[in-house]
C-alpha cells in the first residue's frame, strides 16, 4: 500500500506543479483535479488494512470475524463525499471559465489581472 501512498503524494505534487505552472485555466483546474485524485488515493491508502477486503458483509465475509477481514470503511465513505464535492467545485469552476471566456476570449490566467495591489 505504500506504493499507493507514494503515488498519491506524487499525484498531488504533479497537480500542484501544474497549478502553478500552467497558464491555461482549464489546465489549472485539471491540475487541481489531479491533486484531488492524489489525495483521494492517499485517503484510500490510509484506510487500507493489509490483506483486507471490501467492507461489504456479503457471503465473502464472515459477519462475525469481519473485523479481521475488511478494510476500514470510514475513509471510503469520506472519499465518496470528497469526490462529490470535488465534482461540484469543478463544475462551478468550469462555469466560471465559460463566463470568463465569454468576457475576454482568453483562457490565460495572466490576462485576468484587472485587480491587483
Amino acid at each position: 500500500m505504500k506504493l499507493v501512498m507514494v503515488l498519491g503524494a506524487a499525484l498531488m505534487l504533479i497537480g500542484f506543479w501544474g497549478l502553478i505552472t500552467r497558464r491555461n485555466m482549464i489546465k489549472m483546474i485539471l491540475s487541481l483535479a489531479i491533486a484531488e485524485t492524489g489525495l483521494q488515493l492517499i485517503m484510500i491508502a490510509v484506510g487500507y488494512i493489509n490483506g483486507g477486503t471490501a467492507p461489504i458483509l456479503d457471503s465473502a465475509v464472515d459477519k462475525l470475524s469481519a473485523v479481521q477481514q475488511v478494510v476500514d470503511p470510514v475513509p471510503q465513505a469520506l472519499v465518496l463525499t470528497a469526490i462529490v464535492i470535488g465534482v461540484a467545485v469543478n463544475a462551478l469552476m468550469l462555469t466560471f471559465i465559460i463566463r470568463l471566456y465569454q468576457k475576454k476570449h482568453s483562457l490565460n490566467i495572466s490576462d485576468y489581472k484587472d485587480m491587483k495591489w
Binding site: L13, I56, D72, I83, L92
Partner: protein, 231 residues
C-alpha cells in the same frame, strides 16, 4: 524563468513536507477506533450489508445530506451563473454539428439501459458497491449521451425540477421521520430493518439512496444542460 525557478523551489519545499509527513507512514494493521465499532455493529444496527453505505447514509448521514447540498449548490450556482440575460440571446452563435448516425442510434438504444443500470446501482446501494451518487452519475451519463447525439435535445425542465425538488424535500422529510419516529435525524430505523441481505432491508436506506440517486441524476443532468448552452 524566474517563475519556473520559484515554482521549482516551492515544489521541492512541498515535496519535502510531504516526505516528512508521510515518510514513516505504514498501513494500519487492524481496525481501531470508530471503524471497529462500525464494522462490528453496523450490520446489526442498521441491517445494511454494505458498511460504507451504512456509514454514508446513516451514521454520517448529515455529511451525505451536506454532500447532496453541495451538489445542489453547484447546480444552482451553475444555473445562476449561466443564466441568460435578455440581451445575450442574440449574441450566442450556434456552432453545432449534428452527430453521426452511429452515435444517434447508439444513444437511442443505450440510454434506457443506462438509466436502468443507474437505478439498479442506487437501489442496491445497501447490498453491494454503489449507491445514490454513483447511480445518479450513471443516469446523468445517459443524459450526456443524449446530448452528444442530439445537440438540440431539450430536457423538460419542469419535470426535472419537480423530481429534483421532490426528492430533495422528501430526503429531508425522511430524515425528520427518523428524528420523530426513531433515534435521531436521518435514523433509518423508523422503517423495519427487514431481512438482512434483501433489497427491502436496512430500513430507509434504499429509500434514501433512491431519493439521492434521483436528485443527483437530475442535478447532474441540469448542470450538463446548462453547460451545453440552450439552443
Amino acid at each position: 524563468m524566474v517563475r519556473k525557478t520559484i515554482a521549482l523551489a516551492l515544489m521541492s519545499g512541498l515535496a519535502f513536507i510531504l516526505a516528512f509527513i508521510l515518510g514513516d507512514w505504514s498501513p494500519m494493521e487492524r481496525l481501531s477506533g470508530v471503524a471497529y465499532d462500525y464494522v462490528t455493529r453496523g450490520a446489526a444496527d442498521l441491517g445494511a450489508m454494505n458498511l460504507v453505505t451504512a456509514i454514508v447514509v446513516t451514521y454520517r448521514g448529515l455529511d451525505t445530506l451536506g454532500e447532496v447540498t453541495v451538489l445542489f449548490l453547484a447546480a444552482s450556482g451553475v444555473a445562476v451563473l449561466l443564466r441568460r440575460k435578455r440581451d445575450e440571446a442574440a449574441a450566442t452563435v450556434k456552432i453545432k454539428r449534428a452527430a453521426s448516425e452511429i452515435v444517434t442510434t447508439g444513444a437511442s438504444l443505450l440510454s434506457p439501459f443506462i438509466v436502468m443500470f443507474g437505478a439498479y446501482i442506487f437501489l442496491n446501494g445497501h447490498l453491494s458497491p454503489g449507491g445514490g451518487f454513483q447511480g445518479g452519475a450513471v443516469i446523468a451519463s445517459a443524459v450526456l449521451l443524449l446530448f452528444l447525439a442530439h445537440p438540440d435535445y431539450k430536457l423538460r425542465h419542469n419535470v426535472l425540477n419537480i423530481i429534483e425538488s421532490f426528492s430533495g424535500f422528501t430526503y429531508v422529510l425522511v430524515g425528520l421521520l427518523g428524528l420523530f419516529l426513531a433515534g435521531g435525524f436521518l435514523d433509518n430505523r423508523f422503517l423495519p430493518l427487514g431481512t438482512y441481505g434483501t433489497i427491502l432491508s436496512a430500513g430507509a436506506i434504499p429509500l434514501i439512496y433512491t431519493l439521492i440517486g434521483l436528485k443527483v441524476g437530475t442535478e447532474l443532468a441540469g448542470i450538463l444542460e446548462n453547460m451545453k448552452g440552450r439552443a
